[in-house]
Symmetry: D2
């Protein structure tokens, strides 16, 4: 049984909000800044100390979140604007020299639509590393970029982290971009929030629950994780319902409900071990659209010497 | 907003149970029989009158449900035994002459794993109708069987029912088998229950919410619907949580909670219009295994003159 | 055994060239015009009499061929220009009223890459018919357009023509666009030639060898066929080799070789029944690029009230 | 331009036959043995010296070829028998201890059907290594087996060999099985021949033309390559035609044809750089059937403590 002391989230911005509301005060070792644009809203969460990391359950690092409810509109013009914000934020996270090699890793299970974001993104980024090695006359002004979709443990029998570490050791990229489908605690964030983090991927996060972390410490090169919530844990719905009832109840009743919480959860989601997810019916359209935006943003961010307009239209 | 007077289900057996428990008595126009086997449990719900149909919200007809929790074990030997039960029940539902033409329709969206059951089944049934027409020397002892996966409205822009009716009018099959992914009200039924119904598919049912019914009346030939729950509506989790709290509350609190129900749902699943589903993380494995069983059962049931052992191993 | 009196081609422009060279004079009932653009070369073959049709083995009708060797460059800018030519030619072929319903049919086998052009195109055209029927507030200035990828006989057991006729009878479109992968006689035309024909699809043509024609006569509404060669019959290579040797041989040797032709073919391609195809190794990239261009052209041609730039970028 | 001094083949058995016929005598450093069964014919080519290796253009090692024309029948009973032969030969090639870890590599491009054999095989082998590491109670009597489909250079930008070497260095398997689609010189061998070689994969072989070899020397662990021809080079058809004409020609004419060979090839297959392949129309069915047999054979060969019948039916 998983515990329901709080709704699970892979997003630093949600974790920070939940914990700071719970405690009713600012959290030491965590800072938050926001910035609004026409189509999106950027939040920068900095986790600067181990204390802050422990408090919100996210590693030390920078978490940039782009909230863009209009991603739901499936409007190409708006999608491009949001893609430009993503590209700009990505660019700001690292200072790469112009020949830096980049490895884009598409995490997740290509056979399960809600977990297929990463593999779909790597299908669409501009792959150029082989041109640098075998056909330099075609490389143009590109950086060498390569990709891998390592699959999931149940498909390969190999930890995703082992595959990536093995490849990184061989090809020695200067930066790894790891794209993954995430779980949020808020349903409205499904398909409308994009998180970028220089702390990489933590063990146990993402739809597929990685066992090994994928971060600078574990694989030896800087890692930027790009994630988009595609699911909410089913338990979060039960948690939200219970909380909504508690809020509207008298003090006595509250205590009764809290006391019975475990029994209530067991009736609402029998035997749930955290593997039940809420996802929208049109998840296929969502994955198709968001993967195009992320891939276009990666192209724009890491291939600056190629005409921006072309790169953004490359996948639009 | 969808209403939460009861948890939604496509299964007659669940609808019957919920309504009869609610009313605390037997339902007129609905009869239920059960039968236990080694690996499965068969329930036969007969809806015989319009009154009964209205009561449980399912059309007049026969609904055979096979409950097989061991489908979760992914054990080939057990899967085969359950497949044999499915085949036997299918055979009992119609008396087809030996040259009867069968059209197997795989409903649902092949791009969204939880809705892809139907298309995956038609990928695996033994297609023979073309042999009868163009290569009779190869037809063996088979019946002419053909298939179509018509896609969903969002993919084609055409109502699934229109496509099927058009094809049925041209090729005039004696029986249509319509395979679809369903929504149950109980999480434990995901991937462990198989329903067969001679009333066809009702409008608004299934993961993809068909707008047009697919049944003898609408398309002119008998229709057997085979469905397996692959999802539960997210609203059902909220409903279950609320109910569990109500059950453990005093009379006064109950009334308060019921009064606030709409507000509570809105907090638990904001703006839900019935398009949020709960589905397990390993939905890809579930769809792969169940589609093989359903396809094997269809082969066994409708190609009786081909050696049973071969047909069941055909897809095992 | 197929016969090798000439290399097989689905292209009217090749058939015309071969036959007129063979006969050394203009062909009655067939006229040809050409037009050159920056990136492509348009040839208009008109077959106006039954005599002409018999001579070149293509039905009476208009065949517009766009030759664009630069399609091989995979350059987005050039691809767009060629796409515009395709769109302009499509528009010129019919006069559709502004509410005309269009059905785009993607012929071919999605499981075999060289035959998957049609299904990939329908995956990418803008589907709007359901908006007109169910959500008119979202239809914008679009025409109602719907799609179907009917599969192939070996997959469904149903003739493609039967499926299309059935759907056409139900939804009564004003125009059918049928997209298909073709066989050319010239290897250089693979992936570089686009043919549009108002005579529809002939029986026996295309990679998948349709048994039933799909044309105005057989289905009751005008049909425009869009085809791109993705293969050359293997027999054509043997035919070309034999011809090249004959050309460079003395009169005596020529006669000997011609006499032995059947034996030579049997050694070169033993037991070939026309089901062996030559296709390039990078057929996946070719299908991906060309399907995007065809889909973009269909969007541009049939949705004239939607901003052209958006439609062309829709899939670019 | 590729050269046509002989038809290209990845099969040692064909290379041996061609060269020994050409030279009209036995080849030093190469031995050949054959063995006939009910449904297949096994040929064992041993290349024992560098001289032999150079003569037939294949590395030193053992090449076991199973010829089974009945694979074309798509008969499940026969397919199983042939699968058993493959399993037996695989078992005979290595002596693995009972806890040996095996990595099955599916080479080739999953987006191009004729090159998708390897990826399809790894989709179907029984993956167990993760059970050994994370759920030993479920591992049963299995050996730890894991898989990877590394993609092709054009998809990832990374040499296949680099990916495999990286993973092998991390997980240190005792044996690598590399499955690949091959090019034969004989059309009849497409889909009917299975080659197993303990020399691994040579650079430049396979449909996808690997640049780096995958063998014990390059990756540090024993490698068994399993390959099935799915294509013939288009140039081979021209070569065969030319040869058939030469054979039936007088001495003078022969010399003329040989002199003009380059011009003839250029007319038959203009600008061919070896990337044009001949493949059958039903390549999708072929890949589906053969991949099931290879996967079943790998299961049987490397999981000897699991009931044979179950393993062979696992994918049948």
């Amino acid at each position: 049984m998983i515990k329901y002391s709080s709704a699970y989230t892979d997003l630093a911005v949600e974790a920070h909000q939940m914990i700071s509301e719970e405690r009713g005060k600012e959290l030491p070792g965590v800072s938050v800044e926001t910035e609004e644009h026409s189509y999106d809203f950027v939040t920068r969460v900095k986790v600067t100390t181990e204390e802050g990391a422990k408090l919100i359950g996210k590693s030390i690092g920078n978490y940039i979140t782009i909230d863009a409810p209009k991603l739901r509109n499936h409007d190409r013009i708006i999608d491009k604007e949001i893609g430009k914000t993503v590209a700009r934020e990505l660019t700001s996270m690292n200072h790469l020299h112009e020949d830096a090699t980049i490895l884009v890793v598409g995490l997740g299970n290509w056979n399960a639509t809600p977990d297929a974001l990463g593999p779909r993104v790597v299908d669409q980024v501009l792959v150029t590393r082989h041109l640098h090695n075998y056909a330099p006359e075609l490389k143009g002004g590109t950086r060498p970029l390569c990709t891998i979709a390592p699959g999931v443990l149940g498909i390969t029998g190999i930890e995703t982290g082992e595959i990536i570490k093995g490849i990184v050791d061989k090809i020695k990229p200067n930066l790894v971009i790891a794209v993954d489908a995430l779980a949020a605690s808020s349903i409205e964030r499904i398909g409308t929030t994009i998180q970028m983090a220089d702390s990489g991927i933590s063990p146990g996060s993402g739809v597929g629950n990685k066992r090994m972390g994928i971060n600078e410490k574990s694989i030896g090169v800087p890692v930027i994780a790009i994630g988009v919530p595609t699911v909410v844990h089913a338990a979060t719905i039960a948690f939200n319902t219970l909380n909504a009832i508690i809020e509207s109840s008298s003090e006595t009743h509250r205590e009764e409900i809290k006391k019975d919480a475990d029994k209530i959860y067991e009736k609402a989601i029998p035997k749930d071990d955290g593997s039940l997810f809420v996802t929208p019916k049109d998840i296929d359209v969502l994955i198709k659209d968001i993967s195009r935006i992320i891939a276009g943003s990666i192209n724009t961010a890491y291939q600056p010497d190629v005409d921006l307009k072309d790169m953004m239209t490359y996948l639009n």
